[in-house]
Symmetry: C2
Subunit: 375 residues, 2 copies
């Protein structure tokens, strides 16, 4: 999922995102809550209409970003008090208010309010944090169930006015074609396999249409991330979307997909692009380097994106060196194209089936001693 | 002509410029000479190939921008010594080196090296400056005639190797389909009608395939600009392009076109867009204003551009207020669309002919006491 923090994937217009084949983008509740504000987005008909994006949107719960405001927040059982990074004003997020915000924004998939446990943390701290996230998950679900009809794009009357035997009322069978959003739960538990298992099982008990793995990519070694992802996945239902939050490099998203992850989001392709770091089929390119100043080749000869089809490395290097806005625009378009192409190849490999997927070249055959968990 | 200073119309990719119907864009020789440098552009096959722009390009002579570097330049009969605004390095532009640079860049239309006379200036100073511009025009033409075969995209052998009776050799009948660029002369003469006439007549004597009016929009009152444009046009041939440099607002470009101007360039649509000032059929809009925060209407209900067709004022206001890159991109696309639409309406009005053009609504009928110079 490309990240569109404040209802815009930085520098890329929505028609180009459509051309790139993006099926879903992510918005950040914390940022949108501060600016333009939930009230404005609700009044404009929800995020889809506000930003003119007819495809799917997922919003995070605001939790992760509030927890990133180290100096500016205070956590209690009730919720989190924090100060805006924009103007220092005081705000409060609870599971209930985070749900209210996300219902008001009206994304297709919204996330339970969780605490992203810091790393490193001792077992007691991780357990306490996990327990609070579980209580917050229950509160998130309860508030959501009571208020899910309040989405801005809801063409139907309030739930209480519906007949009781309307089976669809409490089911989110179809995104945005019905009248409610899908609320996903988030598994925490730090780097402890036991706590991860417990978090997964008790989150499943609460019951959600999809599950995310949170609290990773917070500074731990890469190998540990993989180990926790792999062990947590064993305890998540295979018939529901499994979402790994905040990863990763192109190699990582292929690897996590091979483990069974269905959804990922990361600022890497867009943020790296703005700093001139480009992902290609031949490896990473730092386009600012003088070696590209007179290079007539496309950025990636194997890429079909509108940037690689039209411009040379020399031109892209010139734009970047000259601090031209178009550098950031074109670099972002290419990196998104590369990521979305990567996921298309992953889906193709999956569609080939267990026996033949390695033929696609996306995944290498597992080494004999490694377990093959590709699911 | 949209301005693409360093081979990019800021924030707008070339395919969108094509969609907007831009037939020609302007590049600034001073900036391109400094970065990426003429040598690089030449090696990449010229500006068209370097920036992947198959339509027409005009480069200025560098004179105007060098003259804008008040503190950093020194003018002699030979040329101008100046310091780069980027790194303070010393450089020298003469009529010959400015031609060499523009031939190396390989635009379709290039400009003679002139001195843009400051305003205000006394008659003696204006005459001396005009005389130097005339001497520089001769030197520009002479250098161009001797070197015009050196364009980077020239598929033909050097002029000396061509048969003498090749009538096309010294004629620039077809832009970029032949082998030479079109070098335009520039009329100076300050705000003095007599000197403007003399400058025009003596520039025509030197002989160019097109003529520009320079040295205006340098701080003089708007009415004076119009008066000098009108009086200068009387002395320029109607069968050759007449180019007014550095104007103007949408109202002004309509007015100057009605006087007989064929070409104009201005940073106003693109620069104003980046500052949130948008031109619409209903007047100017400063999109940063809070009044647009929940306005669901398109920027301009009469505009068919991709911005007005897809986004609301509320969204554009949000992007601008959030300092999102997409604000500058979308605002620029709209303003360029508005300008190019304006010129399309002007061309349509002209095609209607002398008697009926006022029916188009682009031009109002002249007041009885005003002279009608529309040509």
């Amino acid at each position: 999922m490309p990240v569109g923090t404040v209802a815009s994937v930085k520098g890329v217009s929505q028609d180009i995102l459509e051309d790139l084949g993006a099926q879903i983008i992510l918005g950040n509740t914390y940022h949108l809550y501060l600016r333009p504000g939930v009230k404005t987005v609700r009044k404009m008909g929800g995020l889809h209409r506000f930003m003119s994006w007819p495809r799917a949107i997922l919003t995070d719960s605001g939790g992760f970003q509030v927890f990133s405001l180290n100096e500016l927040r205070k956590v209690t059982e009730e919720g989190v008090t924090f100060r805006s990074h924009l103007d220092g004003s005081a705000h409060f997020f609870s599971p209930e208010s985070a749900m209210a915000a996300q219902i008001g924004l009206g994304a297709d998939i919204i996330m339970a309010f969780d605490e992203c446990t810091e790393y490193p943390a001792d077992r007691e701290r991780v357990r306490a944090s996990m327990e609070m996230t579980l209580r917050w998950a229950e509160r998130s679900k309860q508030y959501f169930e009571e208020h899910k009809h309040e989405v801005p794009w809801n063409p139907l009357p309030a739930a209480s006015a519906l007949p009781d035997d309307d089976g669809e009322r409490t089911e989110c069978r179809q995104l945005r074609t019905g009248y409610c959003q899908a609320l996903f739960g988030i598994v925490q538990g730090g780097m402890d396999r036991g706590l991860r298992r417990e978090s997964a099982e008790r989150t499943i008990e609460i019951g959600f249409p999809g599950y995310a793995i949170g609290g990773l990519s917070v500074g731990e070694p890469r190998e540990l991330t993989r180990e926790i992802v792999e062990s947590t996945l064993e305890h998540l239902p295979k018939d529901k979307p499994r979402y790994l939050m905040g990863v990763g490099t192109p190699e990582e998203i292929v690897e996590y997909a091979s483990l069974g992850i269905d959804m990922m989001d990361c600022v890497l392709p867009t943020r790296a692009a703005r700093h001139g770091l480009l992902f290609t089929s031949q490896g990473r390119i730092s386009i600012k380097q003088a070696r590209y100043a007179q290079d007539p080749a496309p950025l990636d000869p194997n890429c079909g994106c509108r940037v690689c089809q039209r411009y040379s490395r020399a031109y892209l290097r010139h734009l970047y060196a000259s601090n031209e806005m178009l550098a950031q625009v074109l670099n972002t378009v290419h990196n998104l194209s590369f990521y979305l192409d990567t996921m298309r190849r992953v889906r193709h490999a999956i569609s080939l089936g267990e026996e033949t997927r390695f033929l696609s070249g996306v995944w290498s055959r597992p080494k004999p001693q490694a377990s093959n968990d590709a699911g």
